[in-house]
Subunit: 226 residues, 2 copies
């Protein structure tokens, strides 16, 4: 009997640029490694509050470093990431509550579309410096991802239901129970053990834990397609 | 004309476990990549103070995560790293001022011994849970690294000179000028550009910036020796 596929849970928020990097790397590797990838839309502000952590960009030197770091990593990982001009307003004031509730609704109703809609929201906020707060912004991302206008509108209406609100809360709490103090968090279930990995820079360590080969953030099969 | 060797500066403190990981990886790669590695002993407490940053382990969830993270990375990177039992006393109370002044003196008088003495201090504090504050602890590390008892004693006497104190201060300030808010910091001088990389998890990105091949934290040539 061969290895059963191992499960990886990726807890993420589209407000987090490092989450985007992890997301793309794991989406590339899920068909290369013998893994089942569960995308888990979470609410980063809830995790910061629950853990007592503060956004790194509040420390001026970390903010400056992140600007360079994300630009370089974007080139290396081949993700078209760009810092929004008014970072503090986008990240700290506007936030992601409606966007993450929308992704939660997508996950409940059209889970097969979650990857694409998540990516389109990142493309808006972390590549083209576009809004992700207003209803029409979220609808635009959903339609670009391939949902019909009617489907997108239906999901948007679900955003204020207790089912969706509670589900996002539960997923965020699950991340916290795994020890999250920020995002992304990858939870790997391997041989009866659970490993929680923080950040986008533990993917080579993840390969080691899975006994799989790390071929860089852009594995050759993907590189050929890009 | 071939490429001139590029310079990498590694700013580190033996109190920082992630510095140890960077140190070993760069010591392994310095003869594989076309680089000149400058070891720059620094004082982490000075960097935290100057940047307004706080040690991550002060946040309980980060402390818990670090314990697992460092154990896993130690296995993956093949560095015999172990958390000291009384982490808070070792890291936050006892500190590293004398140890880093001693390494500064080693760098001034016997620069060829800096790598080995640094490693022996890490072996004490981050592998065998031994003291690095008392003079006899530092002498023991220096002798284990290959210095004579007389040389080690001579260096220890230099620790309180203004030359050594000022040099450590200058190196720490240089790290801060590069934007450091913690350690390790790797400063790469490549094609007239300067890149500051924070942490032990940017080594694959460093390879990318250098145009060199990343072969994991234990490149094959080293793996054969271990």
């Amino acid at each position: 009997m061969g290895h059963l596929p191992r499960t990886l849970e990726l807890f993420y928020d589209v407000l987090s640029p490092y989450s985007w990097l992890s997301f793309e790397i794991l989406c590339r590797y899920k068909n290369i490694w013998n893994v089942r990838l569960q995308l888990r839309p979470s609410f980063i502000a809830g995790i910061m509050k629950d853990s007592g952590n503060k956004p790194p960009a509040l420390l001026p030197r970390k903010a400056k470093y992140m600007t360079n770091d994300i630009q370089l990593l974007g080139q290396h990982v081949q993700v078209p990431i760009q810092f929004p001009k008014d970072f503090f307003s986008v990240i700290l004031e506007k936030g992601s509550l409606r966007a993450m509730r929308f992704l939660t609704a997508v996950n409940l109703e059209h889970p097969e579309m979650l990857e694409k809609v998540s990516r389109e929201l990142w493309m808006r906020v972390w590549s083209r410096d576009e809004d992700i707060v207003e209803p029409q912004s979220i609808l635009a991302a959903a339609e670009k991802a391939g949902l019909s206008a009617q489907q997108a509108q239906g999901l948007l209406e679900k955003v204020s239901t207790s089912q969706v609100k509670n589900q996002l809360k539960e997923t965020t709490e699950a991340a916290c129970k795994h020890g999250a103090f920020g995002l992304p968090v990858t939870v790997a279930h391997v041989d009866g053990q659970t490993h929680m990995l923080f950040g986008s820079d533990r993917m080579e360590l993840l390969a080691y834990l899975l006994g799989e080969k790390w071929m860089g953030p852009v594995p050759p099969a993907v590189s050929a397609r890009l």
